[in-house]
């Protein structure tokens, strides 16, 4: 069992790593076609290997193999992979979306001068992301976690000639780094109290009460902070909208479908640990809930098509965290898949739109594209319906799962909050679709290029699971594909008609509001319009998060930095570094007076002091 299992789980990241190295060596050759070939072949092979892995895991329940990397006294540092159904789900999502996105990029990035480099970094990213979900211990997970962050940094800053892209890359890297430090501390705290990095062992220890409850609280909060950074949860969400400076396929792959779910994955993986501390679960719930609502609000007013999708991503990640905080792990993971695929469609469609309009991303300058880009419009609609949670696509079922999970875990109040969020999320998606594809714009929107075949086929392929996944989820507990029971080991919730009807109504209400807001003209002085303007002002400023951070950086951090710099200049530089030679110099000035250069003076001093010593010695000897 272990022999083949080992080689299979190992093959996935290794393929992509080899592709990365190959592409790194060749990305300048032939406009990068060779590098792109490496990357594409590797990800396709990984996707194929994934299915072998699925059959293997279904037979055995789980796979795990390890080797000792090194050993210090009693402590073994282990390099190991662990594949269970949760890992499988993520592997499937990553390989599938990455494959689609890379094929898409082949068309989308065609005219890019750094075509090869794009695929090189993509292969690197996929390799580290696969390693992240496969890692069976926290140390390796952390390594992969950082590598994924690096990949994200490189791809956000892909057009580094643009200042905004370089700034966005920096912002993403630094913001997630704050979370990463917390994660590292959390891992070390756990290591200190258990002496191991193995996730399963740590969870066993925690469940059998071998770890103190304070330690669990601290460690789980710290790990959650790491997850918040990576998954862009409030208040660390500010980097994700800016990350849209990267190429659109990157946004689809990294900042919607895979990397940002790493935080959700980590929390899911560590959920047995989190569940021990009810405080942590509340923190997860509250953070998830506020991200869900705040980001949905902000998504309603953004003018940039990709930013709307970015806030929508934050909102949905918040929803997953919310579900996790209520203990509904299965629901969160199902929603993770539904969202990953749906959001990838939306991003790639928005890539098509802006590609057709020569890079235009402003919503207000689009409109009436339904006739000009019919396929994109329909696919975008499918993705939106799924994410808005309207029957019968994937998002509907996963959202229902979450609602019943929240109902079981927390009660009706939180379900109410969730329904409000559902209204908001269908509202912004409906607004997006109507403004881009349906409503006629006063601007002339000339379609410059039609999307080529590389940009169409992957989208259609991506739409299939959005539809099929939904239907297969509908067979909740019986075994039509049995997707649900098949993948998830955690608690299962039953289909609840009341909830299904409520959530559908909420979603339709959102669509209705969007419709009314766009097509019904209210006079400027109407009370509602005035209120709207006020709210919109706050929303456009993104709840002042960025302003607040800017303020903190400008006022507090810079002042502290200036003080430290002053200390450095005055104490370290002037007193310690410059002061020491000055001291030596002034002593030297005194001492040099005695250096006459006359040998006879030296000789006299020598003889005089020698005699003095001798006389002293003599007195001492004779007196004793």
């Amino acid at each position: 069992m272990l022999g083949i299992a080992w080689s299979l789980s190992w093959v996935l990241p290794a393929l992509n790593l080899i592709a990365f190295l190959g592409a790194l060596a060749t990305y300048r050759i032939k406009k990068g076609i060779v590098a792109a070939g490496f990357s594409l072949v590797a990800i396709f092979a990984a996707f194929v290997v994934f299915w072998f892995l699925v059959s293997e895991v279904l037979e055995n329940g789980f796979l795990s193999d390890q080797m000792t990397w090194f050993q210090i006294a009693e402590t073994k540092i282990i390099f190991g992979f662990y594949v269970d159904r949760l890992t499988l789900l993520l592997l499937g999502l990553i390989t599938f979306v990455a494959l689609i996105v890379q094929v898409y990029s082949f068309g989308y990035m065609k005219k890019e001068p750094r075509f090869g480099w794009f695929f090189t970094v993509n292969a690197f990213f996929v390799a580290s992301m696969l390693a992240l979900v496969l890692a069976d211990n926290l140390l390796f997970l952390y390594f992969a976690w950082e590598l994924v962050g690096l990949g994200s940094y490189l791809l956000i800053g892909f057009w580094y000639e643009r200042r905004s892209a370089a700034e966005a890359a920096k912002k993403a890297f630094i913001t997630t780094r704050i979370g990463d430090v917390a994660l590292l501390i959390g891992i070390i705290v756990l290591f200190k109290s258990t002496g191991t990095f193995q996730i399963s062992t740590i969870i066993d220890y925690a469940q059998s009460g071998l770890i103190g409850s304070e330690t669990i609280l601290i460690a789980s909060i710290l790990i959650f902070l790491g997850a918040m950074g990576k998954s862009a949860q409030v208040p660390f969400h500010v980097w994700l909208p800016d990350a849209m400076e990267g190429p659109t396929p990157v946004s689809a792959l990294i900042h919607a479908a895979t990397m940002v779910v790493a935080g959700v994955y980590l929390v899911t993986r560590m959920l047995p640990l989190f569940e021990i501390s009810s405080t942590t679960m509340w923190v997860v719930t509250i953070v998830g809930m506020s991200s869900f609502l705040l980001a949905a609000c902000m998504a309603m007013v953004m003018h940039d098509i990709k930013r709307v999708l970015a806030y929508s991503t934050i909102s949905h990640l918040g929803l997953m965290m919310f579900a996790l905080g209520c203990g509904a792990a299965s629901a969160a993971v199902v929603h993770l898949l539904a969202h990953g695929v749906g959001k990838a469609i939306l991003f790639l469609c928005s890539g098509n739109v802006s590609h057709s309009l020569d890079g235009e991303t402003n919503l207000m300058k689009m409109g009436g594209l339904l006739k000009k880009l019919p396929l994109t419009a329909v696919l975008f609609l499918i993705g939106s319906i799924s994410l808005a949670g309207i029957f019968p696509l994937a998002g509907f079922f996963s959202k229902d799962e979450i609602i019943s999970g929240v109902l079981d875990g927390r009660g009706w109040f939180f379900v109410g909050v969730l329904l409000i969020g559902t209204v908001l999320s269908s509202l912004y998606l409906a607004r997006l679709w109507i403004l881009v594809f349906f409503k006629n714009s006063q601007y002339q929107t000339e379609v410059q290029h039609q999307p080529n075949v590389f940009m169409k086929i992957p989208l259609i392929v991506l739409a299939i699971p959005t539809v099929v996944f939904g239907i297969s989820l509908a067979q909740f507990n019986n075994s039509f594909f049995g997707l649900h029971a098949w993948f998830i080991e955690y608690s299962q919730h039953h289909f609840n008609f009341l909830i299904a009807i409520l959530s559908t109504l909420a979603a339709l209400l959102g669509v209705f509001i969007a419709w009314v807001m766009i097509f019904r003209k209210f006079s400027e002085n109407h009370l509602m319009m005035i209120t709207f303007k006020r709210i919109e002002h706050i929303l456009i400023r993104k709840f002042f998060f960025d302003d607040f951070y800017q303020f903190v950086i400008d006022k507090i951090i810079l002042i502290v930095a200036n003080m430290v710099a002053l200390l450095d200049r005055k104490l370290v530089n002037d007193i310690l570094v410059d002061g020491l030679p000055k001291l030596v110099y002034s002593i030297g000035r005194i001492v040099r007076v005695f250096q006459s250069g006359q040998i006879s003076h030296y000789a006299f001093a020598m003889i005089f002091f020698a005699s003095l010593i001798f006389a002293g010695w003599w007195l001492l000897v004779t007196n004793t």
Partner: protein, 105 residues
Amino acid sequence: MIDLVHFQLASAALFSIGIYGVLARRSSILVLMSIELMLNAVNVNLIGYSSFTDFGMDHRILGQIFVIFIITVAAAEFALAVAIILRLYRNLSTVNIDEISSLKG
């Protein structure tokens, strides 16, 4: 009868003359010679002490053998010192110690 004290006095006298020479002379050759005087004062002392100890006869001669060695070594050393002074003279065109003061602080 020559006693140990005579040796000591002769040695002390030689040593003092040497010190005087080192301190007072200006020519480096003469300073060098004064140093030789001090060295020889030590030699005289050595011979004196070796003769007036109560070792056996063949051990008493040891001091004189030492002295011969010392004189030999001193001669070699002196040659070296004179060579240095010659270089000094080549470079500075003087052997006057007061003028050789490049190390002045």
